[in-house]
Amino acid sequence: MATFVRILFTAVLVTLAATGAQAAEQASRDLQALKQNVLDLNRELTTLEQQLLYPSTQVAMFLSIDVGTPIRLVDINLAIDNKNVGYHFYSDQEFQALTKGGIHRLYTGNLSSGEHTLRATITGYDPQGKDYQRTTAYKFVKGAGRKMIELKVVDDVETRQHKFEFKEWSE
């Protein structure tokens, strides 16, 4: 009759103490090689796709915000030369990613060379929970090579709302 007590006793005391160690033992060297191949292939095909879809004339637009901002960004609407090219609604997790220094790629596309106007409209909540909307327009010149534009949403200390700063890089 005491057998069952012994079995259960051993089960109770062993379970938590002897786990966790064999995790990567299962992942053999071969499996690691396969996974590395998957990553290499994924990188190669992603690059190929980008080169096919967006040749050396691509424009990329990014959004970043002040690290640790008390203001909540809700969404952003992006237009280039009065044509809507992107809308994004930020989930809590995505907003947190932005506040930790993450930068969101809003748009990748092909634009002709010359002058263009970017118009961004954001909606947000100030620290009191009051919603507001802001629009900014920005002119830029697209050259022969690739171009990157970063739209940084920063805190306006006076109004306790967002304001915009732009940065550019041209190839």
Binding site: F9, R43, G102, G143
Partner: protein
């Protein structure tokens, strides 16, 4: 206890961003510090932006895009092995994906660098985690004991738990217990540490030191499901420790604290019944075991109760009920044996693994992301779950299952790319048709426009030089209007005709010419400014035209690249690799399926053996009771 994967704190993504911002400010032209021109645009630093993009994906648990962007940026030379934070992140992502060798190489490089002490310590901690996960306990312990100090409280607690686990795995229970008993149980990690310390003491024979620690976990305030389950587990450990030591009162006291609707209820009821039974209180043991008989008979505790309930009837002298109980147990156990056999057949079927926990992620991207976290594996409500509950909860099964899911996701990812390749080929073919008709026109346009731009540049340069020269020399006529120049020419022509005459006509002419010259001089400054502005506008227009030509040339380079064999070769090579990898994945999935099935089959074989033994014991008990009743009947007859 399993080690939870946690996101690298990357303390200085913010610091990195700040550092990049600083370097940009320092690198800005000196004039920027004194005044900022209206058209000044702050330069963007591509590596910082691309790293920020990687961080965005990483913090959103989109680990495959994160690592892909990171690897592309490194391939393009935008990020390198010298960037500590991208290295750290890559190491973390490799660890998540089980690429321990690569992660190890990165962490080994990082710890030799002149990096922040906090970062270095975290890197050491990651290295130790890796060694631990690879089963290199001595190496991991050496790092955890000697190399790390001044960790944040949360990571310090994890260090202690990890080190304690290593001591337990090496059988150094006393050492583990000493280390872990100092950990505060103010969160789940701390509670696990205390539990493990208590278990270590008990296993080393120091019950008087182990029980108080287990009780501290047992008596924690109720919390989330994980905490409550751990509380129950600790209570069960205390209860069964006392049962082993024949201290049935203390065992009861602890077992009574276990929740009636938790994962350990059945064990608690069985143990409580046993404690009562051992105290000679058979009447109190019986209801607990009878209650267990109402539950799922596939549970081993219920199967134990099947045997124990008739035993209690025996002790109470109710032999007919005892006999009935044993017969009922025999029937039930035989039924269970049949179910086990059916389950074995079911487990051997190829789709069994997929029926365990079909992936129904809302975000379809997760299904093709082998790096996405595999959150809380909970076996579906399948008939075989009661037999395999402990297996499903075991670390080895869940780690194997995790590898299986990773392989499935890799398979889906490869399927995705395989479906993309024909699309790329047709896009390429379509582009080629369009480009073939476009290229002659493009060549012609480029050469014509190039000539135009050069001609315009050739014209505007001397014009600009002439105006600048005139301004420098004060030559007002160079910036006079056409009307002013015409008036001046008329005056000069009349002056030439009049020769040296000094009459009224000549005086009028002198005044008129003076007026014209005064007019030219009066408007000179504005005219000069306008001329400079006009020249600049013309120059800008020419440069904009040159920009268009340059863009067209870039496009032509792209076109030529697409016309050539490079893309075809890359697509074909990718297709080859995909096929080879798909074959390998198929084989590995089969092997992994078999490995998981075998784990389940081993458990069921054990289950079958136990059921067989119990069945034999039941039959013996029935025979014993029947013998007793026959003997009693004979005795009775003799007495009569």
């Amino acid at each position: 206890m399993s080690i939870r994967r946690r996101k690298f704190t990357l303390p200085a993504v913010a610091a990195l961003v700040a550092a990049v911002a600083c370097s940009a400010a320092i690198g800005a032209p000196a004039s920027k510090r004194s005044f900022v021109p209206d058209d000044y645009v702050e330069p963007l630093d591509p590596p910082a932006v691309l790293f920020g993009e990687v961080m965005y994906e990483y913090y959103n648990n989109r680990n495959l895009p994160a690592i892909t962007h990171l690897l592309i940026a490194r391939q393009q030379g935008l990020l390198s092995e010298r960037d500590d934070y991208s290295e750290m992140l890559l190491g973390d992502l490799y660890t998540n994906f089980g690429l321990v060798d690569r992660a190890q190489a990165i962490f080994s490089r990082l710890v030799t660098r002149d990096i922040l002490a906090k970062t270095r310590n975290e890197t050491w901690f990651h290295t130790a985690e890796l060694q631990y996960n690879q089963g290199k306990y001595d190496e991991a312990a050496r790092i955890l004991e000697n190399k790390i100090e001044n960790l944040s409280p949360a990571i310090e607690k994890e260090r202690l738990v990890l080190l304690g686990n290593i001591y337990i795995l090496r059988g150094e229970y006393q050492r583990a217990a000493d280390l872990l008993s100092s950990v505060k149980a103010d969160d789940v990690v701390g509670a696990y540490a205390l539990y493990n310390a208590g278990v270590a003491f008990v296993r080393s024979g120091e019950i008087e030191r182990g029980i108080p620690l287990l009780k501290r976990v047992r008596d924690l305030p109720p919390g989330d499901e994980e905490t409550n389950a751990l509380k129950d587990r600790a209570a069960l450990a205390v209860g069964f420790t006392w049962l082993q030591k024949n201290n049935h009162d203390l065992a009861r006291e602890s077992l009574l604290t276990i929740r009636m609707d938790g994962p350990f209820t059945n064990q608690a009821m069985l143990g409580l019944g046993y404690a009562n039974f051992q105290r000679g209180d058979y009447k109190k043991a019986l209801p607990l075991w009878l209650e267990l008989l109402q539950r799922n008979t596939s549970d081993t505790t219920v199967q134990e109760a099947l045997m124990l309930a008739p035993r209690a009837y025996e002790e109470l002298g109710d032999l007919p009920r005892a006999l009935f109980g044993y017969r009922y147990a025999a029937d039930t156990l035989r039924g269970e044996l049949k179910k086990v056999e059916r389950t074995i057949v079911r487990i051997r079927e190829s789709d069994w693994i997929d029926s365990l926990s079909p992936e129904t992620a809302k975000d379809s991207a997760i299904l093709t992301d082998p790096l996405a976290p595999v959150t809380g594996y909970t076996p579906a409500n399948i008939p075989e779950a009661p037999y395999l509950y402990a297996l499903f909860a075991s670390n080895s099964f869940s780690e194997d299952y995790k590898v299986y899911l990773e392989l499935k996701r890799i398979e889906k990812l490869l399927d995705f790319w395989q479906a993309q390749l024909p699309i790329y080929q047709s896009t390429l073919a379509q582009h080629r048709v369009q480009l073939a008709t476009l290229k002659p026109r493009l060549d012609d346009t480029i050469s014509r426009r190039k000539r135009d731009v050069e001609a315009l540049r050739a014209q505007v340069a001397p014009l600009k030089a002439r105006i600048e020269n005139a301004i420098r020399k004060g030559d007002l006529e160079q910036t006079a209007t056409l009307q002013q120049l015409a008036q001046l020419d008329v005056a000069r022509a009349i002056e030439a005709r009049l020769g040296n005459s000094t009459g009224a006509q000549a005086e009028r002419l002198r005044r008129v010419k003076g007026l014209v010259i005064w007019d030219i001089a009066a408007s000179a400054t504005a005219q000069q400014q306008q001329a400079v502005k006009d020249i600049e506008i013309v120059r800008n227009d020419i440069e904009m035209a040159a920009l268009h030509v340059e863009s067209l040339e870039t496009l032509r380079t792209d076109i030529l690249r697409r016309m050539g064999p490079e893309y075809d070769q890359r697509i074909a090579a990718a297709g080859e690799r995909l096929r080879a990898m798909k074959d390998e994945i198929t084989q590995r999935l089969k092997a992994q399926t078999v490995a998981l099935q075998n784990q389940a089959l081993v458990v069921l074989a054990e289950n079958r053996r136990n059921l067989g033994a119990q069945l034999a014991e039941t039959h013996l008990s029935i025979a014993r009771l029947q013998d007793t009743s026959v003997s009693e009947a004979i005795e009775k007859r003799k007495r009569q």
